[in-house]
Symmetry: C4
């Protein structure tokens, strides 16, 4: 039996859904709570998108991971349970969706812990974390290690899982990338401005297929990040379905929850270890 | 006979045209009235686009709904009549096209009422409303209910019609979405900046077909929002025609005016009711 | 013989080239003259693009109109002659390429006249004008009429030529549109920011074909605006060639210089007359 | 034997890779060193992208040129050696990646020299230079000539190599262009904002093929600029491979390092000489 993180597969697909709901908007200013249309645009995610995606995953018999901000879990009490009872993973996606780089270390720590408390109160076991807006600080992965989680999924230093040394112990990083995020393809909102281009689902399907082919060539982790308020819409859900069908038809692609990949990666003695520290900068070279 | 809002159809298409003319530009600053080219760019909508679209609808024998700001109806006296006498619906699209979220509650109310007065003076019956820039406040739907209208079409909480409780009574929401708006695909204007990408009509046609296919799968409302100053142009009008022909050829798609969909939805006992209230926010969680 | 502006043709194509060179950049700040790469990017237009385009037009035996800022004609003395002697039209494109809406009426007038003086000194007959950045003021067309020109090509009120009343006399407007401009498709420059998307020439070719098909349907003026610093590049010049070949193969498309279209339009008794005046605005309705 | 810079080929392809790593981000503010995700996004270039690209070049047996900022060479000591020993060229790409137009002449000179010192200490022979962000000042090419380099590759005045007079002597310019840069197609980063659109590798492949076809028509230099942190990703690396395979299959395209093209160009008596000086600007014409 192979001890390689991806086993016999040419590439591994982790379908992940960031159930952000209203949080990324409120993080831009709580005054946006006054914007009724925008709030309804975000509520669509947990209300319409998540049930539709859960049905789609059932149909296709593939597992997934849902990254949920603590605030969202708290405000929609049945949400995490509805995900877990369908066999999927719920993971930590901050409490407020404020990015770590915008907070003091103390604020980030408090936000991190508060989310853990929400999940604990709901009886949801958490082994992985993803930073809000993919804006991790250097402290972020320390918090992940310190609180006993197995993996982080916020960095972009590779396209395969890698070991990340921290002060406490090693964790596994399941790297993400902007090109495997539906936000850049679909998100449009003028105020707050979160994106300005709306691509066709056919373009997105084409691009994800091309990226999967590249990853099968290079034996990578296709760590897809989709948002229920975006990819939960009818035409996009259909494109997601076509993508999964394509990947299944390849015959050499494995679908897994993030926690399963992280466990396999942690057990792989050949996994790359990548240093993780801030570059030193000199104010004479970079005066700004 | 089915009491379901969509009857026997797999999806319902409401073709809606927002006849904004100069108003979205003047709402950005009345000084833009000095910009002759920009004013002509907007005037194209009612002057060239609307007659062309009315002919296209006649040709294809499909009904439509035209959302008209009161200011536009007032400044072009024959406009609403030319629409109504071809069998289409005229609906309320604010007076000034200033977004409700940018106004005080009193300003929004005055703007709302002033538009109703214009339509009343022109003998146009109004049963539906759409907020300017899809930037409804929480008061917006209260105004819709208070003034006896049947439906609103400004929110994004679903992709099917839904019931919306208000202080006065329930109204029907016919939800919109950025992905079914021609603005994001075609609008380009550097000053004021209203958009910066010009997509090919073929991309737009492809995307709308993909979305309609998704909506036929999920039994949704394809609530298309087009603007005569954009989709009235020759190549885009041709793409719109191809889209309608595609939908008609599907055999399971129904075309209707918004008011007809709203009436069917109001009569459907199984229609989803969605709560409609501002999320509570805590300044400790969201300090900005 | 038909007195209709487009004769027997289904659509008329005017190939126009705005030879802006450095002017749109300097108009954003004369300090950009310090940016050597950016200056070379703009100089490519007259130095490499124009000769290539002149050869392409010869090959395909189609006429064109070149809108040249007076500053450019002055700084590159042989330029206008090289265009005229190949049978093409040179037209007025301001002196400095500063947009009329950014100038006082006196500044706009002085800029307008100074360009006429340059062309006069070079022995170039001028009968048409296009405002810099398509940002005409209400005075712009008055200046065109007052100085005896036949046509303007800066407005967007139709997709066919139209009559424009001025205080002096009627002129002909040959309307432009953002969707028939290569700038929105190809221009990229971060500082000054003039655009941020670079489309494939194949997308542009597809879009222009689709627009021409629409215009053949509606009997319109395909008034293409290309820039030698953009469309003069190899792959784009090839796409322009393919477009012209497509239009020629249609069999019902006529190519003409702007002046020829303007003369035919002026002689067409059925040509639409469009009012041309600033909308009245009320500071109570539009307070900003 | 032909003395023409491109020999018998219809077009010449120089594959160039700008190994920027963290520098373009730190140049926007050294505070970005706090952003762990962003730093990992940039580190991917030298850590994952460069080895993958070196293997790809070996497979396809084509040479390339790597433009490396001195700071990057210094912080990753084995990098330049790993490139040179595979037969490729390393060239000068500033020390800090701060654009020359943002520095004083003294700062630019110091930055230029410091990079030369790094390369000298690493035993890397340097004959060419490319300005950071393609934002050369008028001094930039003087520095290139003064320090005895053979060529610059930062300007956009042509699509073929050209002679550039300087105060010291003539150098060769190998011009670049935004349309042959992968940054505009792939770069996405919200903070600092470096780009906002993520195109499909298939679109990019199509566009580069179209541009190569145009360049074969016009006998030009296809000076591709790719970034390992962008084009090193799996799907994009596959598209790059497809592009090279397409060019090789054309049969009339030659691949070369920049230094080889520059040497051939320097020896070509028919090479165009282009003036290189700032346009004179008049504060009455351009008051800003």
């Amino acid at each position: 039996m192979s001890a390689n993180w991806c086993g016999e597969a040419a590439a591994v697909v982790t379908l992940t859904f960031d159930v952000d709901a209203e949080t990324p908007i409120l993080a831009r200013g709580r005054g946006y709570a006054r914007h009724a249309t925008t709030m309804s645009h975000q509520a669509y995610g947990p209300e319409v998108g998540v049930p539709r995606i859960l049905d789609l995953l059932d149909d296709l018999e593939v597992p997934a991971t849902f990254f949920v901000p603590g605030w969202v879990a708290e405000h929609r009490p049945g949400l995490t349970k509805s995900i877990v009872e369908r066999g999927h993973e719920v993971a930590h996606h901050s409490y407020s969706h404020r990015p770590p780089t915008s907070m003091t270390p103390e604020e980030e720590r408090a936000d991190f812990v508060r989310a853990l408390e929400v999940f604990s109160a709901q009886g949801v076991e958490i082994v992985g974390h993803r930073a809000a807006l993919w804006e991790a600080s250097w402290q972020t992965t320390e918090l992940v290690a310190e609180h006993g989680l197995l993996y982080d999924s916020s960095l972009m230093g590779d396209d395969r899982p890698y070991r990340l040394p921290t002060e406490h112990r090693e964790i596994v990083e399941l790297p993400v990338h902007w090109s495997l995020d539906d936000w850049e393809q679909y998100a449009y909102l003028p105020d707050p401005h979160i994106g300005s281009v709306i691509e066709s689902p056919l373009k997105v399907l084409e691009m994800w297929r091309a990226e999967l082919d590249g990853m099968r060539h290079y034996r990578s982790l296709f760590n897809l990040c989709a948002h229920p308020f975006l990819s939960g819409r009818p035409g996009r859900a259909l494109a997601l379905r076509r993508f999964v069908e394509y990947a299944l038809a390849c015959g050499d692609v494995r679908f897994a929850r993030c926690r399963d990949v992280a466990e396999a990666a942690a057990a792989d003695p050949g996994l790359t270890r990548r240093p993780h520290r801030a570059p030193e900068t000199d104010s004479l070279v970079y005066p700004r």
